[in-house]
Symmetry: C2
Subunit: 116 residues, 2 copies
Amino acid sequence: MDGIGDVFLADCPARLAVEVIADKWAVVVLWGLSEGPRRHGELVALIGGISKKVLTQTLRRLQTNGLVTRTEYGGVPPRVDYDLTPLGKTLMEPIRLLTTWAADNGEAVLAAQESA
Amino acid sequence: MDGIGDVFLADCPARLAVEVIADKWAVVVLWGLSEGPRRHGELVALIGGISKKVLTQTLRRLQTNGLVTRTEYGGVPPRVDYDLTPLGKTLMEPIRLLTTWAADNGEAVLAAQESA
DNA sequence: CGGTATCCTTTTAGATACTG
DNA sequence: CAGTATCTAAAAGGATACCG
């Protein structure tokens, strides 16, 4: 994927939005964190269908973008919590609108797909 | 990518939202159509950085999802207009919120990336 | 438990050239 | 003008096994 500092980004905020949310799991993972901190294993179970590896990758990317924190509590077995940053929380409202849209219009999209 | 009818979709609207918008260009192209119908070539120029091939692919996908119409006017040279469907227009409000978020918080994301 | 490492397949994107 | 065809490279995703 192109870097975030690329030439077109400055011209269009849509570019940055895409950069942040346009992968298969980012929105779903953020969604999974919307009600409070979660452990790695919790997220795997909560989300369903995501592998540990991909979840870790996705979380790392969200961390890099400043949307998620990773808190390591020592001990054996290890415990790691992920949580939204304040910045991450500001993204939840747009995401909520998006998922509301999906809930309301999913049927219509499905119907369009089937008739195509 | 997994089909939209997959097992997890029914459980979580976020899944459908992702299915629709989680590719590099979908949101940008929808954004490009937000002010009215556009021709293929117009979109290439307006968006910048997208190839004809990828634009066509993206538009086809949006069509399949019932978000965009393709209208062919006969003649030589050919003319084809793309426009949002009513369903597509309902997606613009969530997208607008998302791009507003990006405009407001882009700096913060950039800063997080650089310190990482 | 929360990862990595490895390997593999699929998907996406981009460049270029060609066509009706 | 609006594509399609071909080829290539890069990224994402997934399965499995192993590690501290």
